[in-house]
């Protein structure tokens, strides 16, 4: 085992010049000895070459193991996804390691102008992706059929993805009237695209517009009522929603209802909206067997939020990952292998 002093020396050397093979092997040995789900710390502060980072990633991926796949709600045929999704804005170096672990849903793939090589090399049917359509975003006209339709078609023309598994209404509707029990222009655009084979399922990222006073006067006064209307409309197949540790009970309840109705529930903003509370709650992190790992604790907490019938509310989540540390910490939150080592009893959807 290397001493802290030895690792500090290697960190210092790495910032001056690439580590020699021998020095890098010392770092890999330390990382390996730390154990599954804990390897990335050895690389923190090291300046590594691209090939060294790739080797480090292999070790980390090996520690995390293959991720399970769970049903993406009950409205998407046989679609099974890993409990964490990639996002098109991830660090590109992390895409291949995630794919290696089985991650098979790419959020916001529709925004790519060009599909990264790691994804392009795969058969299109081997992964899922969504297009977040912006006509329901603040300040846009949700009744502008052409804008929504053209956003999807022009993105497919650019990136060659052939079709989107999920057409996702970005930000969602502003009030019950504009949603109109599902009989709205956004859904009609989806229906046309579905007939043309360009989109398969209908989803929404229903956000609460909490900061809209600063600009456009769009604010949802009764968020839970709108989610309820979306559930009862029967047209929404998936919902990607802001959710984290400490969210209001009424939000949790309505998301549980959506999940029970078979809608695929995807959590987002888990870290941004929960890190302060979780960081301050050492007992909770202990309970989640993720002491000192806020991201891992938050993902475990959210992915184990239960419906009244005891089943998980969320089938998957989105996390923005920019480096190997975050990758290991957050994906470790849904890794059965790491859960076993941490002593955390996991019950994913």
């Amino acid at each position: 085992m290397q001493s802290d002093g030895s690792m500090d020396r290697l960190k210092s050397i790495s910032r001056e010049k690439p580590l020699s093979r021998r020095d890098f092997m010392q770092v890999l040995t330390v990382a390996s000895a730390a154990g599954p789900g804990l390897a990335a710390a050895a690389f923190t502060g090291m300046s590594l070459t691209q090939s060294q980072r790739a080797e480090a990633a292999e070790l980390i991926v090996d520690g995390l193991g293959t991720l399970p796949k769970v049903p993406y709600g009950k409205r998407h045929g046989k679609m099974m996804v890993t409990p964490i999704c990639m996002s098109s804005d991830w660090n590109g170096e992390l895409l291949a390691p995630a794919l290696q672990m089985g991650v098979n849903f790419i959020h916001k793939g529709g925004y790519w102008n060009r599909v990264p090589d790691a994804v392009k090399a795969l058969p299109r049917e081997s992964y899922y992706t969504d297009m977040t359509v912006d006509t329901t975003s603040p300040g846009h006209d949700p009744n502008n059929f052409d804008e929504a339709y053209n956003q999807v078609v022009s993105s497919l023309d650019r990136n060659g993805l052939k079709y989107y598994d999920v057409y996702r209404a970005h930000y969602g509707w502003h009030n019950l009237e504009s949603f109109n029990k599902g009989d709205n222009v956004t859904f009609k655009v989806f229906q046309k695209l579905k007939k043309e084979g360009k989109a398969r399922y209908f989803g929404v990222s229903q956000h609460p517009y909490s900061n809209s006073d600063a600009g456009n006067p769009e604010k949802i006064e009764r968020y839970a009522d709108l989610i309820n209307a979306e559930i009862e409309s029967g047209v929404v197949d998936s919902m990607q929603v802001w959710y984290s540790y400490g969210y209001p009970k009424e939000v949790q309840e309505v998301f549980a209802k959506a999940s029970k109705a078979g809608i695929a529930m995807v959590a987002m903003k888990i870290y941004a909206h929960g890190n302060g509370k979780m960081r301050a709650d050492v007992a909770k992190m202990d309970e989640l067997k993720a002491n000192g790992k806020v991201g891992r604790a938050l993902i475990r907490e959210v992915m184990h939020e239960k419906r009244p019938d005891g089943k998980p509310i969320f089938c998957t989540c989105v996390s923005n990952l920019g480096n190997m540390d975050l990758f290991e910490e957050n994906i470790g939150g849904v890794s059965p292998k790491v859960a076993r080592i941490d002593g955390f009893e996991t019950h994913l959807a």
């Binding site: 590594l48 102008n113 975003s137 300040g139 909490s210 809209s212 923005n320």
Partner: protein, 124 residues
């Protein structure tokens, strides 16, 4: 975890996880927010893009506050989301364009279009 050298607004604020010059200061200038985020993006490396993630979050929340004319309040209360004064700002636009370029993405095209800003689909 993520770099924590910034002071960030709490999650319950309208503009949550926005940079603050000091704890509990809730009146921000757009200039401060954007220059802080641009400095974060400057620190992005091939190995670590987590600071870009922070700027993306700020960008997502700012899209909500863009006016029909394509601009933003120059001064605002991050806690409540309210604009302060009548001065307007276009400071976020270069950041949106930069993020689109870095990610080879069209995510913020609609924001740039509304402001009649150039560089649409820069990577296509």
């Amino acid at each position: 975890m993520e770099p924590d050298e910034l002071i960030l607004s709490p999650p319950e604020w309208a503009f949550n996880c926005f940079p603050l010059p000091e704890p509990d200061v809730d009146v921000l200038t757009m200039e401060f927010v954007i220059s802080t985020m641009q400095a974060q993006i400057d620190l992005v490396t091939e190995a670590d893009t987590s600071r870009l993630g922070r700027a993306l979050h700020v960008g997502h929340l700012l899209t909500v506050a863009q006016s029909d004319a394509g601009d933003w309040p120059a001064v605002f209360n991050a806690r409540t989301g309210e604009s302060i004064g009548s001065e307007r700002s276009l400071a976020p636009l270069p950041m949106f364009e930069r993020m689109n370029l870095m990610l080879n993405s069209s995510e913020f095209d609609h924001v740039l279009k509304r402001a009649a800003w150039g560089g649409i689909h820069p990577g296509s």
